[in-house]
């Protein structure tokens, strides 16, 4: 079972982290807002994309098969992985068949989800993260802190230290110098790697294209230089037509990084053509289910699969904005993580995830495909079996019993307040009561008025008689 609450203090009271979170989230939001403001028909794009996604999900089997057929007709191999283990086994098998020793990887959250790096390492294969942020957290032996910008919590001093240690040369703090060092170190890896693994941002069914967006060029190199390329793709990533692509690209890049478009957009769909002078001879598309088909079967929560992994909801979430990604202790974090993880792992594995939210709804407003995350959170809260929240369940039953009957409510309120007043002094509770104690740890309690409103005013006649204020 994964809990969030035990480690929040560690992140909340890290002054440097809080400063970085504050400025990074503010910058990300501003960039996104500016980029979106340029698009006059942003709402229209959102509605279009949502409709496309919901339609596609209802016909997912057909679209995926169309995609697979196209890839196969070009000589690519398609593997349908039901579980994370199946996907990892296939990749490891392929690596073994080619006696691969080094694998270059570009950023893929799905790769994190299925644990591909661990699987490769166990098989004696070295997976090298080539996205600069992922490279940094890999060297630090940490998981990503954010699904789009994995290392934003690291200072240049942190990076200088870790690079000096691992790249074997003393390096200063200048980001230019550090980036140049990473470029040099990774270039060798690209040119020598036996296998390249990338993710897939979007897949187009009718034309058979897989789309990989990036800024650094590492995905381009990962899918061009090694002799074998494996693309890992969640089954929900397919869109029906090439004509839909410009809309999704626009929504994705502006929401994720506030860019009109990323430096590189790769369209791939098979191994190299016979006439090409370079490119991978072997291409594999691994379609990963890993619980998505189960989410699909639940019509009320199916829209979770519309997510295009832009990360905007993380940037706007007041909870993520205070605790950061590691506090969730799961691959997917923030609002999308809160609704996806219980559905992928089972609600009892991550019982706190749906509750780590104030239901402020900022995520729903910002989601480019209009996923109603707050509604999904409420559904998940409802579905958590009571045995995982016995205390809450009992408290709620008592509360309902008290509040459902106006007379009972008035009576218990009167006696309860008399009792409470004995321990209550000007905003402080002398008695450490469980719920109120939690409130009081960081805030003052409100004063307890002498009378409730109804005690004062329940004799109001309609024409305005009765007690004054």
């Amino acid at each position: 079972m994964i809990r969030i609450r035990p480690q929040t203090a560690r992140y909340l009271y890290d002054r440097h982290l809080q400063e970085v979170l504050r400025t990074t989230m503010a910058t990300a939001q501003q960039a996104r807002d500016e980029a979106v403001a340029e698009v006059e028909n942003w709402e229209e794009l959102r509605n279009y994309a949502r409709q496309v996604k919901l339609h596609t999900l209802a016909h997912l089997g057909d679209y995926l098969e169309a995609l697979a057929d196209r890839i196969s007709s070009r000589g690519g191999r398609v593997f349908w992985a039901e579980t994370a283990e199946d996907a990892c086994n296939y990749v490891v098998e392929t690596a073994r068949r080619h006696s691969a020793r080094t694998v270059v990887k570009s950023k893929t959250m799905l790769g994190e989800e299925i644990g591909i790096n661990t699987a490769l390492q166990k098989a004696g294969v070295e997976p090298v993260e080539t996205d600069l942020g992922e490279f940094i957290v890999q060297l630090c032996q940490e998981p990503p802190f954010h699904i789009i910008t994995p290392a934003f919590h690291k200072t240049r001093q942190d990076v200088a230290r870790i690079f000096t240690q691992h790249l074997g040369q003393p390096l200063g703090e200048d980001p230019e110098e550090l980036t140049a060092a990473a470029r040099k170190a990774l270039r060798e890896k690209f040119l020598q790697a036996d296998l390249g693994i990338t993710g897939v941002n979007l897949a187009v069914a009718d034309s058979g294209h897989l789309v990989v967006v990036e800024n650094e060029g590492n995905a381009r190199l990962s899918l061009s230089a090694p002799p074998v390329h494996i693309a890992l793709m969640g089954i929900e990533k397919v869109i029906p037509r090439l004509q839909d692509l410009p809309v999704f690209l626009k929504l994705l890049t502006r929401s994720a990084t506030g860019q009109r478009i990323t430096s590189y957009v790769n369209l791939i769909g098979g191994p190299r053509c016979p006439e090409e002078v370079d490119g991978p001879e072997e291409f594999h598309l691994v379609l990963v289910d890993n619980g998505r088909s189960r989410i699909l079967a639940d019509e009320r929560k199916r829209e979770t699969l519309a997510c295009i992994r832009c990360g905007a909801c993380l940037n706007v979430c007041p909870v993520y904005g205070r605790i950061g990604g590691h506090a969730y202790r799961t691959v997917y974090q923030g609002p999308v993580g809160a609704v996806l993880m219980p559905q992928l792992l089972g609600p009892e594995q991550v019982p706190e995830h749906p509750f780590a939210s104030t239901l402020c709804e900022a995520c729903r407003d910002i989601c480019p495909v209009k996923i109603d995350i707050p509604r999904l959170l409420l559904e998940l809260r409802r579905e958590l079996p009571r045995r995982y929240r016995r205390g809450d369940a009992l408290a709620m039953r008592v509360w309902a019993w008290t509040f459902e009957n106006a007379g009972r409510y008035a009576g218990i309120s009167a006696w309860g307040r008399r009792l409470l007043r004995l321990f209550y002094r000007d905003g402080r509770l002398a008695l450490p009561l469980p719920v109120l104690g939690r409130w009081q740890s960081t805030r003052d309690l409100p004063r307890l008025p002498n009378k409730t409103f109804y005690e004062e005013f329940s004799n109001q006649s309609a024409d305005g008689g009765g007690n004054g204020q």
């Binding site: 909340l12 939210s357 239901l359 900022a362 459902e404 409100p446």
Partner: protein, 240 residues
């Protein structure tokens, strides 16, 4: 026009003055106001925590109230959002209560929305010679889409200076049971809001939801800051 006043359970228990001022305000604009103590709670605390059965039990009480009123007004955006958007959901399988729930949902208004959009009033003759800032509660902002109404009302308050805070749309961190499930995070979010409030130089932070104001007020007090939270109804009934 006859309106029912749904003060909400939090106002009843902890901020009865807000209820009193709302009552005063509605009378001031010439309405007959019905106060019905059977209107205890909309059930939101249970609903938002995933306990729909308990929410239904409690919300049931509202269905007995105000059936002879043209409208029901509440000084709370989150409770009104609950009634408007979720009450029917709770009773849609109950043929006897479904229509009452729908009727109530259609007649219930948040205070500022009611004054400005239903009655067409922005000037209630108030005077409040202080600098204030305004906090929009998330449900009011994002569920009810009410943002300009409180400001139109405050603009007409004589001698009042309204200073908007940076990141005004940010959540205060209360979040219902979130406040006691994740108190550290709740307060950390709230302290960001307190910083924004402080930076405006305002003497008062005004809002439309006592839940937010209670949380912000608790943080202001803990930080020993002299800024006081006030509900919109309290400002609109000031005349000194």
């Amino acid at each position: 026009m006859r309106v029912g006043l749904f003060v909400t359970c939090l106002v009843d228990q902890l901020f009865p003055r807000v209820g009193a001022r709302t009552l005063q305000l509605l009378r001031l604009v010439g309405l007959e106001v019905v106060v019905d103590p059977r209107g205890v709670c909309c059930g939101q605390p249970a609903f938002n925590t995933g306990f729909t059965a308990e929410a239904r039990r409690v919300a049931r009480g509202l269905l007995d109230c105000w059936d002879d009123c043209d409208a029901v007004v509440a000084p709370s955006g989150s409770c009104v959002a609950m009634i408007r958007h979720h009450l029917l959901e709770l009773f849609e399988d109950d043929p006897a209560l479904k229509d009452t729930a729908r009727s109530l949902a259609e007649r219930t208004w948040e205070l500022s929305d009611f004054l400005v959009n239903r009655l067409g009033i922005t000037d209630v003759g108030a005077r409040f010679s202080h600098v204030v800032t305004y906090h929009d509660s998330c449900h009011t902002l994002r569920e009810l889409r009410i943002e300009k109404e409180p400001r139109l009302l405050l603009q007409e308050v004589r001698d009042l200076e309204l200073v908007e805070m940076n990141d005004g749309n940010a959540c205060c961190g209360f979040g219902g049971t979130f406040a006691v499930k994740f108190p550290d995070i709740s307060s950390a979010i709230g302290n960001e809001k307190v910083r924004s409030i402080k930076a405006t130089g305002a003497q008062f932070v005004v809002g439309g939801d006592v839940s937010c104001l209670m949380h912000i007020g608790g943080l202001l007090q803990r930080a020993a800051l002299p800024i006081r939270p006030l509900h919109l109804a309290e400002v609109l009934t000031e005349s000194s």
